[in-house]
Symmetry: C2
Subunit: 143 residues, 2 copies
DNA sequence: ATTACTGCAAAAGATTTGCACTAGG
DNA sequence: CCTAGTGCAAATCTTTTGCAGTAAT
């Protein structure tokens, strides 16, 4: 979840072109709470943009990651890369069985950030925090 | 970094067989501070075990992950899966300029883990916690 | 008018799988 | 023994790339 103008402005501000395909991808990223994969985005947009290419989706995601407008979370156990339109430090929780990823608010995570900063002397830009396990639904199924 | 007996005992305890190939993979995992990929392990062991198959490495890693003896970290930006023999909660800190990754111990991160567990109802297997920023050396260089 | 972007198809990589043989328990 | 594990090769799947046509600025 994100403001679409943040995404589109990031593209324009960097001299990248705002095509209908990219606009649609930004809309989708801004509107969803999910942590989509390239394929998921492609399938969502296919009905409205039948000519859309998966390669274009990959290109656009790569561009947005390069601009820091979205984060690349990596695999959630399904061998495909998930992206996160929420670049604020927060906790991601992935289920290794159903491969859904949810956001989790956390008090302690703010302490961790300052702990890291103070202990390391790094100038921090961001974080990708992914816990993985079995969600309650999949625990029930596994029994 | 890990105690090799933790890895080998995990295998034996689950009724899995302790073959020379698996023993060698466990040794390597226990001895390294890196976050190895299947291919890296394969290349390290090739000289000593010329007949070793990459498929066997994948099989063994899958087994160890299934037992919770090691963690699957997912892609580190290079499109291949990295594994972590250190299953203790810890923080990875990457410099976006010199691309080094260091481990950082953290008090607060343990609180976060229990916070996540309690708030979500997930059965947690592990975590990939990566902060990124500019290390002190690169900050000095950048000025 | 430029030149970056798109879409297609092919390529490149990583991981998984089927199967016959081998060896650990 | 018996069955899980190994190694090979082929298959599968995700992501990247080359290229010619298209369109944003």
């Amino acid at each position: 979840m994100n403001d679409i103008s943040i995404l589109t402005k990031a593209l324009q501000h960097s001299g990248l072109r705002l095509t209908p395909q990219r606009m649609a991808i930004c809309e989708l990223l801004a509107a969803t709470d999910r942590h989509p994969t390239a394929l998921w985005i492609y399938e969502q947009l296919r009905p409205r943009y039948p000519s859309l290419s998966l390669a274009t989706v990959y290109h656009t995601l790569e561009a947005l990651v390069g601009l820091g407008a979205i984060n690349e979370l990596g695999s959630a156990g399904d061998g495909t890369v998930h992206y996160d339109a929420n670049v604020q430090p927060h906790i991601n929780l992935a289920c290794v069985s159903c491969h859904r990823v949810i956001d989790l608010p956390s008090e302690h995570i703010e302490h961790v950030a300052s702990e890291v900063k103070d202990a390391s002397g790094y100038r921090l830009f961001g974080a990708r925090i992914l816990y993985y396990g079995l969600c309650p639904e999949c625990q029930a199924k596994a029994i």
